[in-house]
Amino acid sequence: MMKEITTPFTKDKVAELKAGDSVLISGTIYTARDAAHKRLIDQMNNGEELPFDLKDAIIYYVGPAPAKEGRVIGSAGPTTSYRMDSYTTPLLEKGLNGMIGKGKRSEEVIDSIKKHKAIYFAAVGGAAALISDRIKSVEIIAYDDLGTEAIRKIEVEKFPAIVVLDSEGNNLYVSEREKYRE
């Protein structure tokens, strides 16, 4: 079933989504991947202010390709999420409500998602040119020196994603696969 949501991604919006829903996301989301996550956690541990407010935010795990002239961003598909697992719980504790990536999460993250009532979305890995077309503006807001891994504030319009882990602990990677295992 196709649903549309607009950020900020508040708890009432989280509660409406169930594993298996196809979602079109519009509004502001933030990009962060491996090195950016490490810095966010270091900053949190040092008591420093973070470059963006995590409350009701969505983080997209992506390291985009460079933009050609006339485009705001290059190819921008999701990266594999499990590499962010060890950083995720503290971010959920700070109010992060949504993550977009691809692939499995650790048991710890699955438990945290349920506990903190958040959502993990999958975008289609490799569908990077298609997704790039749904990104309307891009601004680097932190860690510029990390290049493709810098934190970007991006405006998206009808960004396609699938709810894989919902706030009740349903896991599409498990439930759908069981249907087709022979």
Binding site: G20, G77, T80, G126, A128, R177, R181
Partner: protein, 280 residues
């Protein structure tokens, strides 16, 4: 003796880096169209449709199919009758990678040291393999490799007693553990035999064989067919969201090995397994 100036190698590598990343190869395109007809999962079918659309958008807008434009893996088959002039071939290849990744707006994903991790900002160095062959030509293959799938690759040093059943178990375990992380539908490269390192090299090389082309060794072809069927019964499906299209193909390359060993390397590759070759 035939002379080839290394600047020709630079130009060829630069163009191949771009072409490999912008255009999906015909064999994979065909496999997408076949699998979308056969896929039974509605989500899986939808995802395969998005992958076809994506490859068309990438081609039309001249941009990379996937944002992970990979670490450049370069295979060189150098004819022993060729004299390479004008500088070092290694530098020429890296210059080609530098040029291609810059001019093609490809993502630079290489870090200088596995622990210090500073981006080299030009995607060099490439991983290069040289093979000296008869003749007076140089064949270069550029195979950019993304790490979503590379990270899911494995090597097993089995005992000879583990035999073919051990090999089958290792392949299925690797695919199972890769699950959705490797961007299925995947292509599975398997290296069987040789030494620890040779097996891994063969597994990588196996990914260069076009989808739909079986091994010419009868019992290996049989193993490939059986394993493709078994992999596609795991239920993983496109992007791991269920279905029968988990792998588009499996290619197994073999080499003689030692009486005491049975190395099995499994190099997992995503649905945009890229490689372009050129003969100079």
């Amino acid at each position: 003796m035939r002379e080839i100036h290394v600047s020709q190698i630079t130009e060829a590598v630069a163009k191949m880096c771009i072409d490999a990343n912008y255009y999906i190869s015909d064999d994979i395109k065909e496999a997408f169209h076949t699998s979308i007809k056969e896929e039974v999962s509605p989500i899986g079918k939808d995802i395969l449709g998005q992958l076809i659309d994506n490859s068309e958008v990438a081609r039309d807008l001249q941009m990379p199919i996937c944002q992970d434009t990979g670490m450049a893996v370069v295979f060189c088959e150098i004819g022993q009758e060729v004299h390479l002039v004008g500088g070092s071939i290694e530098e020429a290849i890296n210059e080609g990678v530098r040029k291609g990744y810059e001019e093609g707006y490809l993502r630079k994903s290489v870090v200088n040291d596995p622990l210090i991790r500073e981006n080299t900002k030009d995607n060099t160095p490439a991983v290069i393999y040289y093979n000296i062959v008869p003749g007076s030509e140089v064949e270069i293959t550029v195979a950019p490799k993304g790490f979503g799938s590379e990270n899911m690759s494995r090597i097993y040093m089995l005992k000879p007693a583990d035999g073919i059943e051990g090999v089958k178990k290792a392949i299925l375990e690797a695919v199972e553990l890769a699950g959705p992380n490797a961007c299925p539908p995947i292509i599975v490269g398997v290296g069987l035999g040789g030494t620890f390192d040779k097996a891994a090299y063969l597994a990588k090389k196996a990914l260069l064989r076009p989808v739909g082309h079986s091994s010419e060794i009868p019992h290996i072809k049989e193993l490939e067919d059986e394993m493709l069927t078994k992999i596609n019964k795991l239920g993983i499906g496109p992007q791991g969201l269920g279905g029968k299209t988990t792998a588009l193909d499996i290619h197994i390359e073999t080499y003689p090995t030692h009486i005491a060993g049975l190395p099995v390397a499994i190099n997992i590759s995503c649905h945009v397994t890229r490689h372009v070759s050129k003969v100079l």
